[in-house]
Every structure is written in structure tokens, then in C-alpha cells.
């Protein structure tokens, strides 16, 4: 009734190419952004900003990166955390060794370094497909983790391999409070998400999807496989790299390579699958789900389990987490984004569904 486009009334190319053709979507998005940029930093406390919203946003960015590679280009990767690590260490080294560079440029360069590494590890994808490729990307995961720990240069020869970036300064203003960091992260994530949204509906995105759906057919209609796949690896790694840099700078403050281990890669993959493969919105929904679920489980555990021992509790959490993932896959294998889509379809017909 309220939410619908009542026919094709587009009279200009501009309207035809709008990201959100339905006005309500647009208003809702602007409202959400305004809420996130203005209301949240004013209203939320440091725990919410620092421990929930910042990691949620950063992991959304990483999930977005993996979603570009897996969801849009169809290349399964289990090494996304390694590219986050590359981004984090690269940003740290740029900040340390070239202090005259502005912080945002550090992040950008870190993303580019991660992209370059991503291209190197993406080369096998030209020959290897499916689960073989997934296992092959584990090579990236383990090799990068090892290299960052082994070679002291990356961590400026710190004894434990831990890097501690200096405080973030933008145009002379030092970001100290959680709200500052939150705004920085939110800004970067918003811009990159908009970029991704546009990228996947451009010629590049269509080429990715063609390769995903059937690479031989894509090649036959003249899509350059080499170029397309490697570009997907590069863009994906760029997003993961920036996410990694933010993880080190804005969230943790001190990290070692263990913060980017295989479990992190799985976590990001979970977000993509739960949220929805091949969906920008899905990356955010999935990240919200995966970040919030353990917190909720923990809360529930404390609520009910005054008498239960801690190790029993953590095992119960593990079981519930696994079971919920299986449950979600059974109930909605296409992810949360599909649920949202179905809701929208229903809204279009409401209140007169035939």
C-alpha cells in the first residue's frame, strides 16, 4: 500500500539507474545513516560503541570483501583473515616508516598492499575450482600468518610480534574517544559500501556474476577470465585489508598475527553465508548476527546459569552457536538478505495479497 513502485514511471536515465529506485528505500537509508552518524555517537555508551558497533562495522566490511569474491565472483576463499592481517601490518608500517603520510592515505595504501597480495594468491584460481580452491586459499592463511610472525621487520622487531599503532590523527585532530573512532569507521565503511554497491551493478559486477554462474560460458561471450577473477581477488582483498587496518587501529589498538587466524576467516565466511551470498545488505546482516549472537548467548547463560560452571557454559555456547548456524542454513539457506527480500515482496502486496 505504502511501499511500492506503482508502475514504470521513469522518464530519465538518472531515475532508471538510481541505486534505490523506490523512494521509501531511499528515505529509510538516509534516516538510518542520519541515525548512525548523529544519534548513535550521542546516545550510545562506550561499551556499545567500542565493543559492539565498531567490531560489527569492521567485520561487515571484511564480510563485504569476501562477499564480492565468493558471492559475486563465485570463488570460495578461506583466507580473508590473512588479507586483514596484511592490511593491518601494512597500515602499521606505513604509519611508522612514513609518518608524513596522512592516516587515511595509510589505510588506502594498506588496502592496496592487501590487494596486491590478494592477486598473488588469486592466481591459482585460474586453474583450481571449488573446494580445491578453498583449501588452496588456506595456503595464504597459514603462509601469511607465519611470515608476519617470523620476520621481525613487519612488527618493527617487537619481541612478541605484537604491533601497537600510534593514536590516529586526522588533520591534526587526534581521535581518542570511542565515538571518534566509531565515526571514522562508520565513514569509511559507508563510503566503501556505496562503492561496492555501485561496483556490483556495473559492467565489472556483471562480469563477476557471469564468471560465477558459469566461467566457461562467460569466457565464450568474451569476458576475460584472468582479468575478471584477479580483479575480484584484488577488490576483495582491498576491502579485507582496510578492514584489517581498522581492526588494528580503531578496535583493538594492539594486535598480533593471531588476531587474524583461521577462526577469523571462518567467522567472516559465516557472516557471508548467514547474511546472504551475493548481497551487500547481507554482509551487514550477517555481521550483526555473528557479532551479536555470542553476546546474547553469553547474556542468556549468565541469566539462567548462576549455578552452571563456566566451562560448561562456554561449551553450551559453542553447541548453541553451531546448532543455530545449522538451523539457519536449514530454514533459510539463502540467508537473512533473502528473508528481507521476501518481507519486501509481501509489503508490496499488503494489504491486498490476492
Amino acid at each position: 500500500m505504502i511501499y511500492r513502485e506503482s508502475g514504470q514511471f521513469k522518464t530519465s536515465y538518472r531515475a532508471d539507474q538510481a541505486i534505490f529506485p523506490i523512494p521509501q528505500d531511499r528515505y529509510a537509508l538516509f534516516a538510518l545513516l542520519a541515525f548512525a552518524f548523529i544519534a548513535v555517537p550521542l546516545g550510545a555508551n562506550d561499551y556499545w560503541l567500542g565493543s559492539i558497533l565498531i567490531p560489527f562495522l569492521i567485520l561487515s566490511l571484511a564480510a563485504l570483501g569476501l562477499n564480492i569474491l565468493t558471492g559475486y565472483c563465485g570463488q570460495l576463499s578461506l583466507g580473508s583473515a590473512a588479507f586483514m592481517a596484511v592490511g593491518a601490518y601494512a597500515a602499521y608500517n606505513f604509519q611508522l616508516r612514513l609518518p608524513e603520510l596522512p592516516l587515511l592515505l595509510d589505510f588506502l595504501l594498506a588496502g592496496l598492499v592487501a590487494a596486491a597480495v590478494g592477486i598473488v594468491f588469486g592466481v591459482p584460481s585460474l586453474r583450481i575450482k571449488g573446494f580445491y580452491l578453498a583449501v588452496a586459499t588456506l595456503a595464504a592463511q597459514f603462509f601469511i600468518e607465519w611470515a608476519l610472525t617470523k620476520f621481525g621487520w613487519f612488527s618493527n622487531h617487537s619481541a612478541s610480534g605484537v604491533i601497537s599503532p600510534q593514536p590516529m590523527t586526522i588533520l591534526g585532530y587526534t581521535l581518542t574517544t570511542q565515538a571518534d573512532k566509531y565515526l571514522l569507521v562508520l565513514g569509511i565503511v559507508s563510503v566503501l559500501a556505496l562503492l561496492a554497491k555501485n561496483l556490483v551493478r556495473s559492467a565489472t559486477g556483471r562480469a563477476w556474476m557471469a564468471v560465477r554462474d558459469m566461467d566457461v560460458a562467460a569466457e565464450v561471450i568474451g569476458i576475460r577470465i584472468l582479468h575478471t577473477k584477479l580483479l575480484a581477488f584484488a577488490v576483495s582483498s582491498f576491502y579485507c585489508g582496510v578492514a584489517g587496518a581498522l581492526w588494528a587501529f580503531a578496535y583493538l589498538g594492539t594486535v598480533d598475527a593471531q588476531a587474524f587466524d583461521l577462526n577469523r576467516s571462518f567467522q567472516i565466511l559465516f557472516m557471508v553465508i548467514i547474511g546472504g551470498v551475493g548481497s551487500i545488505l547481507g554482509s551487514f546482516l550477517g555481521a550483526a548476527f555473528i557479532v551479536l549472537l555470542p553476546i546474547l548467548l553469553n547474556l542468556l547463560g549468565h541469566l539462567f546459569g548462576g549455578a552452571v560452571r563456566q566451562d560448561v557454559l562456554s561449551n553450551l555456547e559453542l553447541i548453541t552457536f553451531g546448532a543455530l548456524i545449522i538451523f539457519f542454513l536449514i530454514v533459510e539457506p539463502h540467508g537473512l538478505a533473502r528473508l528481507w527480500q521476501i518481507t519486501k515482496e509481501k509489503l508490496r502486496l499488503w494489504p491486498f495479497p490476492h
Binding site: 595456503a139 597459514f142 561449551n315 553450551l316 553447541i319 545449522i326 536449514i330
Partner: protein, 295 residues
């Protein structure tokens, strides 16, 4: 002397590789029959070993504990088929893969919830003394483990080749649709295959448990088996064995001869890079089924 040392490392590596093969075998069985890349195999190894040790610590004799552990694994397999796989028929492989990661969490949590989180020692009564052959020192335990693995492979080969269920398994592995159409009950077959994989996990769990102690780190053994798997091919039992031998031997040799030059600790990734190199030449692994893309 130098040469003897080389062979000592080589044989040690080959024997260690057999241990990887044992885990990889479980992956292959399930992938062949159902096309599911079962990430939970490592958790199953852990679960089986922990169940066995716990039964033993309750004072049960060895054969009874073994049977009980086997029964536990069969229950796990049946439950998995009923609760997870049956609901996910016809879903894309990646969904099934994610479901098995979920299953990993459930199994790890369950195992520790039921049997506790302590590290257990596992005594199989196999001596672990070095045995001297032609001047080389070789671990007796490794030799016996290799023997067990060989036995297992032969037994599986006979089972697949000569029994009715085994033939049905191979039929399903070849073509789900065709197997269904001649009346092979797919779901029973999947349950059986998961049970067999549970049995393989039990054997692997016992051997690895005796080697490392039964502890959470056993689940990581699966990560060691993955390069073996891609090197040999997902669908080939002999591939799992040959892959294990290659990975084991070259890993140990690299650790000894290359490791010192780059600062050591390369065993975490070397196998993967090696497997990656192989894959570039043969994208379906050494013995994997070649697939032909048709538009």
C-alpha cells in the same frame, strides 16, 4: 652418515604421512558418497578419541570401550544424517560445507560437555621405542600405525568392492540420480557412509590420541589432512594414501633441509604450498576425477 640421516627423515616423514592419510580417508569417504566436504572430520576424530578414553577411564575393558566408542560414532553419524543432511538435500555444496562447520562446533562442545575438558593420556599398549633398521632409527609406533592404516585401507577396499552395501556406496558416489532410480536408498547410504567415516575417525583418533594425548588440539589434525586431500584428489582413496606419503615425506625433508634457512616453523604452511604447486599442474589432484566443463 649423511645419507642415512636423509633416509631416516624420509621414512619418518612417510610414516607421519600415513597418519595424515588416516584422517584424509574420512574426508574422502564422505565426499565421494555425498559430495559433502565434511569439515567436521577433525571434530569427529576428537570426539571418537575422547569418547574412547572416557569409557576406558570408567573402568571398561579395552574391547568394550572400543565397541562403545564405535557405537557412539554410529549414533553421531545417524543423528547427523537425520537432523542435518536430510534437511539440506539439494542445497549448494557451500551450504553443506557451512553446515559441517556448524556441526564441528556442536561436536566439539558436546564432546567437552559430556567427557570433560581434561587432557587424557591414551595407552594403546604399543611401544614407542626407536627401532634400528640398517642404521636408521624408526619409531615402532609409527610402523604399527602404518600397518593399521594399511589394514584399514585393505578392509575398506574389500568392503567397497565385494559387499552389497559397498557396491551401493560406489553407485551413489558415481551418480546420485542413477543410483536413486534403480532403487538404492540414498539416505541409508549416507548414514552408512557417515558411520564408516566415524569408524575411520575412531581409528585415527586412537592413533593420534596415543601420539599427542587426547586433547582439543586433535581437531587441528584435520587441517593437516586437508593438503593431503587436495593433493590426492577429493574422490580417491588411493589418492589419500599417496597424498599422505608425499606430504609427510616432503614436509619432514623441508623442515630439516629448508627450514633452517627461513627461520623454521614452516610445517604449518609448507604442505599447503606444496599441494598448491601440484594443483597448478593437475587441478583435480593426482587421482581426482577430471571434470569436463560443458556450456
Amino acid at each position: 652418515m649423511e645419507l642415512i640421516f636423509f633416509f631416516e627423515v624420509l621414512v619418518g616423514g612417510l610414516l607421519a604421512g600415513i597418519m595424515y592419510s588416516l584422517v584424509a580417508l574420512g574426508f574422502v569417504l564422505i565426499y565421494k558418497a555425498s559430495g559433502v566436504f565434511n569439515f567436521a572430520q577433525g571434530a569427529m576424530v576428537f570426539f571418537a578419541a575422547l569418547a574412547f578414553v572416557s569409557f576406558q577411564s570408567w573402568g571398561w575393558p579395552f574391547p568394550l570401550a572400543l565397541l562403545a566408542a564405535l557405537a557412539t560414532m554410529i549414533v553421531v553419524a545417524l543423528a547427523t544424517e537425520r537432523v542435518v543432511l536430510r534437511k539440506l538435500v539439494n542445497q549448494p555444496p557451500i551450504t553443506l560445507f557451512m553446515a559441517t562447520i556448524g556441526l564441528t562446533f556442536v561436536l566439539e562442545g558436546l564432546a567437552q560437555l559430556i567427557f570433560g575438558t581434561d587432557v587424557h593420556r591414551l595407552e594403546l599398549g604399543i611401544p614407542d621405542d626407536p627401532l634400528e633398521i640398517q642404521g636408521m632409527l624408526i619409531s615402532t609406533f609409527d610402523l604399527i600405525a602404518a600397518g593399521v592404516a594399511a589394514l584399514l585401507v585393505v578392509a575398506l577396499g574389500v568392503f567397497f568392492q565385494y559387499t552389497r552395501v559397498g557396491r551401493a556406496l560406489r553407485a551413489v558416489a558415481d551418480d546420485h540420480q542413477a543410483a536413486l532410480s534403480i532403487g538404492i536408498p540414498l539416505q541409508h547410504i549416507w548414514a552408512i557412509v557417515w558411520a564408516v567415516a566415524g569408524f575411520v575417525a575412531l581409528v585415527a583418533g586412537l592413533l593420534w590420541g596415543a601420539r599427542l594425548g587426547v586433547q582439543f588440539a586433535l581437531t587441528l589434525v584435520a587441517l593437516k589432512a586437508l593438503p593431503v586431500l587436495i593433493l590426492g584428489g577429493f574422490t580417491s582413496v588411493p589418492g589419500a594414501i599417496v597424498g599422505g606419503l608425499i606430504i609427510g615425506a616432503s614436509e619432514k625433508l623441508a623442515e630439516v633441509y629448508v627450514g633452517p634457512f627461513v627461520g623454521g616453523g614452516i610445517e604449518n604452511w609448507f604442505a599447503y604450498v606444496l599441494a598448491l604447486g601440484f594443483l597448478l599442474v593437475r587441478p583435480e589432484g593426482l587421482f581426482g576425477e577430471r571434470h569436463i566443463d560443458r556450456v
